[in-house]
């Protein structure tokens, strides 16, 4: 070993490998919320923000408590959740089913992919009047709108996910003479699950948007109807209560998918 020179200047090597590594800092999101609401509260109370621009957050909260105590909250929320569940279940299950068929059979792919591409960009809200003519003004047209709106993104996500399943795993299945059905059920479906679930996130967000649109057009109860009524009376407190409920609904849906992902995809690296 050669000797290291003793006489020269010493300096530790500069660290330059920091950043570019996402870390989990959950509390930051909450802090942003609290600071923002605190700022609005302060601004609206001091008059720095006029009460025509934004309602006072604590008044919005009081309105929410009123709504809850009067029992009207559930009267509006339950039908909305019902519409969401029924509509999204129909759309998502049809979407996953057809997406898998497209992924597996070239004939079905050739036939349906152009069709899906054609209906994907249509704003589904534009079709609501049509659905009302077809299905009537009651629940069925709302289910249909939400189902149709969740169907297309689910189809696209699903067949993309099936396409992305590792071919070498399918070949492995064939090399062990697994039946076609086993390969689909045990290799293709679980392999496509991550893609299907991330598609589900988008579909369900779309479902909430369409839910409100449908309820605005013709419903006695429902979050959309509640917001519409508040808006036409220019009741900003109630308007914001409605919007907040939608946000919370979205957060819960997203949390729910998170739980499903954790349970189904815990094998992921």
């Amino acid at each position: 070993m050669s000797e290291i020179r003793q006489d020269s200047t010493r300096k530790t090597v500069d660290f330059r490998g920091g950043g570019f590594a996402p870390q989990s800092r959950k509390w930051v999101g909450i802090v942003v919320f609290v600071v923002l609401i605190g700022f609005i509260e302060l601004g609206t109370r001091t008059g720095f923000i006029t009460n025509l621009t934004l309602p006072i957050p604590s008044d919005v909260f009081a309105t929410f408590v009123d709504l809850w105590q009067s029992g009207l909250l559930w009267k509006h929320l339950l039908p909305s959740i019902m519409r969401l569940i029924v509509g999204a279940s129909i759309g998502v299950s049809l979407g996953i089913g057809i997406g898998i068929l497209i992924g597996l059979f070239s004939l079905i792919r050739a036939g349906l992919v152009p069709l899906v591409a054609a209906i994907f960009p249509i704003p589904k809200i534009a079709l609501l009047p049509l659905f009302v003519i077809w299905f009537g003004i009651d629940e069925t047209s709302k289910y249909a709108l939400i189902a149709f709106g969740t169907f297309t993104p689910t189809v696209v996500a699903t067949y993309g996910a099936v396409d992305n399943v590792d071919r070498s795993l399918i070949r492995m299945g064939q090399s062990f003479s697994l039946s076609w059905f086993s390969i689909v059920r045990k290799i293709v479906l679980p392999g496509a699950m991550p893609g299907i679930l991330s598609g589900l996130r988008i579909s369900l967000a779309i479902a909430i948007i369409l839910l409100v649109a449908a309820e605005m057009l013709g419903a006695e109860f429902g979050i959309g109807a509640y917001i519409l009524e508040a808006g036409s009376l220019y009741d900003l407190e109630r308007l914001f209560v409605g919007v907040t409920i939608l946000s919370i609904l979205g957060v819960f849906v997203s949390l729910g998918i998170g739980v499903i992902e954790k349970r189904l995809l815990n094998w992921r690296v």
């Binding site: 070498s168 070949r171 090399s175 062990f176 697994l178 045990k186 679980p190 995809l265 094998w267 690296v269």
Partner: protein
Amino acid sequence: MDLRLEAVGHHYGDLEVLSEIDLAIPAGKIVCIVGPSGCGKSTLLRLIGGLEQPTTGQIVQIGTPPTDSINPLTYVFQDFALLPWRTVEGNISLVLEDHRMPSARVTEIIANVLARTKLTEFAKAYPKQLSGGMKQRVAIARALAVKPAILLMDEPLSALDSQTRELLMDDLVGLWTRDPFTSVYVTHNLNEAVRLGHSIVVLSRRPGRIREIVDVTIPLGERELGDPELERQQKHLWNLMRDEALAADKELLNV
């Protein structure tokens, strides 16, 4: 059960990949196939296992596979091909589930192959928790579970570091010595070939033809790392392959 390849040739479109391959794969022997990359080794293995059909010639089985063989022609892949969402056990039971066996029998087979590949304590682990060498052991266990008449291995050790490769070679030799199996073993590593092969088939560059078949007579169990006779054989193989490898290398640059 023996296999015989009769004048097998294969094209992908206009690209001739294999030409005039005549080869016998006798029961109980390991036949190694070496050749420069792109010469059609993997293709040949896919043809042998029935995952693809040869353009010309035929591959015939001579004799019937043992009656207890669940999947006579069984692969071990270079990239392991384990299902990441199944445990070690689950990956092995996957290939047994289609055969309507009583579950006690399935459990027994799984326990047996895990013991033979020294994986018993990892039965409940997921692939992501295992090192490359362990993953390949799982893939070998899975292949043994279906009692293959012929094991088709496509560069099974190429994704592993050299220490792990040595260990797994010892494991394969151990498995073969206790219970000789028939195997076609594709590799580009000449050391693996002289350690594991009873005969070594040298393919030319694309289109792959048989250049020479080298027999190694030393019993598998007695082949030590650094054995002079093996070194000599390996050197001979390298001399055969060097020009082909050089030419193949240049060819790829011209594409």
